[in-house]
Structures are given as structure tokens and as C-alpha cells.
Symmetry: D2
């Protein structure tokens, strides 16, 4: 099949070419397989003379192709999680609520090891395909209920994307190192309120902050410099706790 490639126009229109042994068709014309097999970084032309750059996929190019059976957490929120917790090459992370595995995959690309818990077989199948797509070796998925317990101990961070995150406070508390982070991602503010009020009673977590991240994209084209007319209004609230 040849190795996968990304091709991109000067306007940033991107295509993922899975099989470089065949011609590849786009709305800007088609590209011959002989050109697709060429040197990376080369400029190649479609049959209609549109110029493309060709290069091997970066992690983010593969990530954007993940299967998404559940609603996935947007990059803006993943960024805030990484930034606020400072997770890195040495971090050991547990996740509750794999969904499609997008967050777990992104974190595994940064951290030492990630273990994700989910109870839905259909989600687990999606995550497995996504792990394979990205070629990740350090992400394990367990079909277990995180409300019942977490086998990993002394972890640096627990990420929760669950309808009732307060039910995972006990297992998270036992799994985390002192000072470790619990991050909960919830679409509604009532979930946030219930979570914060729950752990304040239990006293084994301190509330660092609850935030929402709003990303505003701009058009920049000659004198037409302005925020885009439409934007995402909301994805979820991020609550950061630390095990004390």
C-alpha cells in the first residue's frame, strides 16, 4: 500500500492518503500514485495543476482521523488539561470513561502510561481501533467500572469523563499520589456543583479551579480581519482537584 501520506494545498486544505499505491482524488483534481510515492516535502501537482505539499502524517494528523462514536472532548480542553496538570513523559495516568478514547490517546502521546476504564463494550472496541491507528504502546483499556475501584496505585492524575463523577471520588482518592490531580470534564454546571459539594464533605481533595475554555477563531485575509461568525459556544467544564 505504501506508507500513508498527508497532502496539503497552500490554503491549508488537508487530505489523508492512506494508500499511496493508487491515484488519489480530491475536489482539486487527482494526484498520480507515482507522485504520492515521491520524496517528502516535495511539491506535487494534481492533474488540474493545483499544487500540493506532501509529507508523512504527524501525530495530530492521525489524531484527527480517530473514530468518534461518542462525542469527543475538543482540543482546546485537552490543552487546558495538559497545561494545568503539567503532565509529561514521566506521568502515570488513569482515565474513567474512555468514550472514543480521544483524550486517552492524546495523553498517551505525552505521558509514560495511561490506563482507561470503561464498561461499554462498543466504546472499548472503538478505543482499540484508535490505539492501533495511532500505534500507541502505552495505553491500556480495561472493561471495568471505575466507580468500583482503580487497580493502579500512586498515579499522578485521574481524568474523569463520567455522568456522575462524584461516584469515582473514593477510587480516585485511593489511586492518586498525594498532590496528584483529579480532573473532571462535565457538560453541565449542575454536575460540577454536585462534584465540588461532594468532595468538600469528604475532605480528601482540594479544589484548585473550575474553568471553561472558549476558543475564538479569527479570519485573517487582507483587510478582512475579524472573529469568525460562528463558534462553539460550549463543550464542557473542567474541574481540577488535588489529592491532599
Amino acid at each position: 500500500m505504501g506508507k500513508p501520506r498527508v497532502i496539503m494545498t497552500g490554503e491549508g486544505r488537508k487530505f489523508f492518503v492512506k494508500d499511496t499505491s493508487k491515484d488519489f482524488h480530491t475536489q482539486f483534481g487527482y494526484i498520480k500514485s507515482s507522485d504520492l510515492a515521491g520524496k517528502e516535502g516535495a511539491k506535487i501537482l494534481s492533474n488540474t495543476n493545483v499544487e500540493f505539499s506532501i509529507f508523512p502524517p504527524y501525530f495530530i494528523d492521525l489524531y484527527q482521523r480517530l473514530k468518534r462514536d461518542a462525542q469527543i472532548i475538543p482540543l482546546k480542553d485537552i490543552g487546558a488539561i495538559v497545561a494545568e496538570t503539567g503532565i509529561n513523559k514521566k506521568s502515570r495516568i488513569v482515565e474513567g470513561g474512555s468514550g472514543s478514547g480521544a483524550l486517552a490517546c492524546f495523553l498517551a502521546n505525552i505521558a509514560k502510561e495511561v490506563v482507561s476504564y470503561d464498561i461499554r463494550e462498543d466504546f472499548i472496541e472503538v478505543v482499540k481501533r484508535n490505539i492501533e491507528l495511532l500505534g500507541l504502546k502505552n495505553l491500556k483499556i480495561k472493561k471495568q467500572d471505575i466507580y468500583e475501584g482503580i487497580e493502579e496505585k500512586n498515579v499522578d492524575a485521574v481524568m474523569l469523563d463520567l455522568p456522575e463523577p462524584w461516584k469515582a471520588l473514593d477510587s480516585s482518592s485511593k489511586s492518586l499520589k498525594a498532590g496528584g490531580f483529579l480532573v473532571s470534564y462535565s457538560p453541565t454546571i449542575i454536575q460540577v456543583s454536585d462534584l465540588v459539594n461532594a468532595f468538600k464533605r469528604k475532605k480528601d481533595f482540594a479544589h484548585i479551579k473550575t474553568i471553561e475554555i472558549i476558543e475564538r477563531e479569527w479570519e485573517v485575509d487582507q483587510r478582512k480581519v475579524r472573529p469568525k461568525s460562528r463558534m462553539i459556544g460550549h463543550s464542557g467544564f473542567l474541574t481540577f482537584l488535588r489529592r491532599i
Copy 2:
């Protein structure tokens, strides 16, 4: 001196204890050095009976203590950079405009190697102290003008925090792999406009997106659930290009 420790109250009030061989004073009373030397994760009491949790500093605890002679880029923006570029353990990164080195330090904690260029001796001194504080081995700083050229080749990403980022387009273009990311962080929209219009003429970059990240923090305390009254209105615009 004993190893540094972080102590934290149940409300998330955090103190960095550099020297655990001495008593440590806070507005919540003082803590005896014998308690500071104790087992991590333990609960300890101040002389006024305020309970603290004690643990070794996480990366983010050290990061928040970096020296800041220049205005530093906030975590919300660092998060967006990591998320949009997908940089990871294998990434090689160049930065232009070290400032206090905060961004370079954060990225070095994730990436394989980071090289930062600055021409101001005073900034370089600050960065060196910050590298030492965090114990980073994979972050180098060079006193050179990035507008003149970048010695590293085939890098995955170039980060610019410069007053005239368009002057670094040529050197960035030669340094980056095909598909590699150029990220520019600028406080004013006129800088963004000038950068985008400059590279559109040159045609060796594609514009992926220009965004601003707005972080909204919430108070969550019983029925008092509301965004905080005051917030950061603006730090900078992030422009993402890819080398084509």
C-alpha cells in the same frame, strides 16, 4: 536543607517549602521542621491547628515558581499550543524569543529537545536559572538572532514570541520539516495581520488557524455557582501555520 516540599490546605492554599530543615511560617500558623521532614502524603498540623497535606513538588508546582522578568505566556495558551500541534516525546522544537523561558521550559517537559533563541543577555540569565530550577536537561538556550537563521534542521515545530514574527519566516522555513508547525504568539491583531499577509506572499506556509483562548473561571461554593467577577481579557493571539 532537606528536599523541597509543597504543603496545601483543604481549600487549596499552596505553599512551596524550599528548606524543610527549618520551621515554615504561613498566615495559617507555622509548621515544625520535624513535620516537614515527614512521610509524603501525611496530614500535618500548624501550631494553630490548620491541617496541611505535604507532598513532593510536581512539575507544575515548580513551574509556577519560575522567575518572570518578561511577561510570560499563560498556561491556557501553552495548552492550546500543545493541543493544536500534538507535540510529544519525540518532538524537536525551536523557539524564537525566550523571554523568561516559561514556554520553552513547559515544552521541554513534554518534548524530546527544545532550543531557544534570544539576543538579550538579561533574559538568557533568567532562563538559565529557570532551567536549573526545573532540572531540565533537554533545553538549550542560544544567544543568537533567530531572524538571522536557525542552526537546527528538520525540526517539528518553531515557536515565535517576537515583536516582528514575519522576520523569522525565512529561517523557520529552512529549519522545519515538511508539515512542521510554525506557531506565533502576538499580543496585537495587527501583528497577526502582518504575519499572515507576509507568508501568503511567500507561499511556503499554509495558514491553519488563528485563535484566541479565553479562560473563564467559576466559583463553586454551595449555591454560589457563578463565573468569577474579574477575568483576564486578553493575553495574545495564536497563529498556527504549517510548512508546505
Copy 3:
């Protein structure tokens, strides 16, 4: 035809009934003309037993039915204009760039008198129909170029919705009372920048503020309390000057 009526369900689904002498059909069933002619404030039932409230249209109900051939300024921005200028029953206002006349109509509902300038015959026709729809007596439209001059003198405020608002600075300056407001509504930030830099050279206006208004709508339904997923990212920037 009978007088027009608004009918509304308990969920706030609203219908404008122009002709109450005929049955009215909705996706919730139809309502008999005999019920439509009934007492205002009554509850009436559709043939499928959906309950409606019936009442005479408020100004805002008519306003929401204005013809819109040009893009119209959203209510959030009209609100900011009224709030920042404090216009009221005694105010005399001139507008440059009628568009569909939505802003002029809204302001005429509050102010003593509004005169709107436009040079496009097609827009003027739309505005005339809208004036009639709302039954406004104090809104005049002139087919004249506001860049050439404003006949009204000693006005309290001039509203500009023009591609090159700086060309109307001279005529606005001669038309406004001392202390009077010039408000410019522009989609791009480059227009704002050019306007502000233009009048700073001329020195007959002081810059009060430039703002953008972001409206965030919330869903509130039992425990589902969250901002809506999609929102308007941008309409225009509002620049407020005062004649000095």
C-alpha cells in the same frame, strides 16, 4: 382581516397571525378563526389539543418580522448602543447606512426622531416597508450620501453602519451637538483601527470606547444547565466617540 395576533405555546414557540379571520395552521395543529378573534390573554387550543396563549403583538414581535435584505445588526449590539449613549424620548438621531432599517426602526421606537441616509434605492424600499409594518411616524429616510453632508443640525447622536465610516467624520462633526455621540458599527477590526486613527488626527472627537458584545445563551432544563453548544462568534465592533 381582523387585527394581527401573536400566539405562543408553553415552550415559547411563537407564531405571528397576520389575518385572524382565517384558521391558522402550525406544526402543533390548527386554530380556528373564531378562537383567534377571542379575548386577548385567553388560552386557546389547537385541534390537536396544544394550548396557546393569544395576545396583540408587542413592538419586539413586529420587529422580529422586519424584512431583511441586508445583514442586520443583532439585538445584543442595539442594546449596547442604547445603553452606552443613553438615548431616550428626547433624542434626535441621524443614521448613515440604513441597510434594512432595523437599527433605525428600533431607535425610532425610543427616540424623538430618527433620520436615516442611504444611497441604494433597493435598501430604501425595504426600509419604507419596514417603517409601515411598525407604524413609525418619527423615522424619515433620505436617499443621500452621508459622506457629502448631513442636513440635520444639533443632533444628539449619529449612528454609522458604513464600509468606510471615516469618510463620514466631517459631516457627523458638523451635525452633532457638543458632547453628542458618534457610534460606528463595523465587522472588521481594520475598519475600527482606520476610523480611530483618522479622527485622532482631526481632533474633533474623543474616543470613549471600542467594544464587542458576546451573547452567550444557556439551556436550562432540570439538571441540564449549560451554555448552548453553538453560538454567534461575531457580528461587529462598536466604536463610541463623542463630539468635542
Copy 4:
């Protein structure tokens, strides 16, 4: 004392001169009373040669001088109330929770008549002084508990700025015309949630929308064009209902 005047520099620095029979001192030098008594719209100079424009106060200039013993609702939110309800010269309005009377004063400047209810004698005193300051004839204040009832009937809108707005649903319902607006301003989202869930049970109101208004101010000075670094993060949520 002479009539009050506003003086303003070219940078928009504004001073309210209550007594024009005396010299007036500013950080930009002082202005002689003989100049303050001069013709409106004139340019006058301070003793240090700073140029001022002089004019009679507009409504908004007086409004910005209101006494504020309670936290007052910001202009951005008042604007949204006016815009969403379309209140105008013919509107009759009732308010519950006068606070300092700022909202009532602003609305009285637009509407036919406003009646405001409060039970705190100290607030009522402040409102009375503010009514006098603005010279409003159509704003009455009543020392009565709006939870107990509203004497005015067939009103167009009821504005609530109360800790427990759901307690005023019954009295508002009896006071409003069919189709009339109930607007509630609350700092916390839990109040919004409780209000909406309360009236949904009662079925005499339809929920039109719940919004928050975010105002973002920009600096515009040559090439320095950017949102201001600091902004108001939150004031209150606005919930709009209609009597059905």
C-alpha cells in the same frame, strides 16, 4: 451656582462640573469659572494649556454619577434588557428590588412609567436622591414587598433583581399583560435554574431565553490594537420569560 457642565479632553477624560461659578481643578490644571460659564461646545484651556470641550451633561453623564450603595447592574445588561423586550415610550414597567435605582432610572428615561418596589429604607433613600439627580418625573418607588403583590395591573414588563425571584412569579403573573415580559437578573446560575424550574411547574410563563452578556473592550492606538488585558468576567444572568 450656574448650570452643571461636562468638560472633556481630547483623550476622552471627562469631568462633571457641578458648580460653574467657581474655578474647577483637575489633574490637567484648573479652569476659570469665567470660562466654565461660556458658550457650550466651546474649546477652553486649563491654566496648563490643556484643551477641554465644554457642554451640558447628557443623560448618560448624569447617570454615571448616580449614588451606588448596592452593586448596580452594568450598562451591558441594561442594554440587553431594552433590546430583548423592545420597551419604549409607551411601556409601563414594574421593578422588584430597587437597589440603588440605576436600572429603574435608566428605564424611566425610555419608558412611559416605572414603579419600583423595595423593602429596605436605606435603598429607598438612595433611589430618591438618584431620581432627583436625574430629574425623573415618571419613576415612583414603593416601600412594599413585591413577593406579596403588585398593585399595578396590565403592565408591559416586570424586572426582578431579587435573591429569590421565584417568589415573585405569582404577583408578576397577575400584574402583567398577556405577552408581557418578566426579566430576572441573578448573579448565580443556581438562582436561574430554580426560577426556570419553578415557573415550568406553574405554566403561566414561557421561557424565551437565558443569556449572559460579555463585553470585551479593545485598545485601539496606532498599531496597538488588542482587547484590554483585564475585563469583567461576570455580572449576572438575564432570564427572559413571557406571560402566557
